[in-house]
Amino acid sequence: MKGVLLSGGTGSRLRPITHTGPKQLVPVANKPVLEYAIEDFKDAGITEIGVVLGHKGRDEIQALLGDGSKYGVDITYIVQGNPLGLAHAAGCAREFVGTDDFVMYLGDNILKSGVADLVNSFESGEYGAGIALQEVDNPAAFGIADVDEHGTVTELIEKPDEPPTNLALIGMYVFSPAVFDAIDDLEPSWRGELEITDAIQHLLQDGYEIDSHVVTGWWKDTGKPEDILEANRLVLEDKQLTAAGIIESGAETDGRIELAQSSVIEDGAVVRGPVSIAENTTIKSGTYVGPYTSIGADSTLDGVHIENSVVIGESTITASGRIVDSLLGRGADIESADNLLPEGRRLVVGENSQLKL
């Protein structure tokens, strides 16, 4: 079994954060989203991984993952170029996959339960493919699978008016090599892409059985800022957090806190977990860091109250106000405007930024 990790896309819904890097490298609980997928592959016993790259962030992704040896896996890079659809991305991996089965994983997704159960379910029978499903409240907004009593897929329907089930496809697949012949026979859809659902439908029509696995834990597509915040909350809720850094005697801490060895919570600061604080970061006196917050490396917080937020790193935040539900890009600084005249907020804001003042 091999792994194919899709890492293309423009990340347009995550601008301005993605003006300077790929969406798959945005950190959740101080770890790039893409690394969760690599770990899930490894946990499922998959150590040969093809990483499919688009136009954006090729060098950054390769610089992070390297040859995979630091994760105990072997990585091959596959350059898709134009975003011609998930089936095109899979097709680009044909030479890498060879005659093996493979798991295809969207690199901006995080899944609590990993992919091992999906793989085990697929390997328990003679299937052409396996798909991960999750129950949703609004099935008309998703690609929906109809399944029989054994969980074998009978039909896939894209955004149906009258959904036969509430089981939505969540972008996690296992394929036999038969999918490559199905992809060869596909035509681009109305949006000019080779659709993976068309490839699966083709397998069904060719007589292959399609397995399904219903994911019960949380699953998150991290495509938008609010998704990053929710994924951060979900991961911090589950993650084992260890405080290896310095918590000074007058600091008030409560709950689970991850504190890197080189970081400090100073006397007079208040931190209430779950919180993750990365390397070389200082939480100064008078600062409050509240639950579900991740502070990236090389940052200083002084006097601010912040909660349910992600600070990617290299930030200095000295404003005295409250920051909530926020995603701050690398190197973003927020200073106090107190004592400055004329009174007012002073902003240097990039394209596609969102502010609520």
Partner: protein
């Protein structure tokens, strides 16, 4: 729709034909790889197929 790729002989990076055709001659996109890849490195039948169906490989 056939998907055509070329594998860099130096680093093993796999590159889709649409990327090669866009550039015709390009440095391998593998990080720290200095190999040069050309659209003309593809077998002739693959090049012919790609060029005859080029509009389908464009978004």
């Amino acid at each position: 729709m056939r998907i055509i790729t070329l594998t860099c002989s130096a680093c093993g990076t796999i590159v889709a034909a649409n990327e090669l055709e866009d550039n015709r001659v390009m440095k391998c996109p593998g990080l720290k790889c200095d190999n040069v890849l050309r659209f003309s490195d593809l077998p002739e039948k693959d090049r012919t197929y790609f060029l005859e169906n080029q509009e389908r490989y464009e978004i």
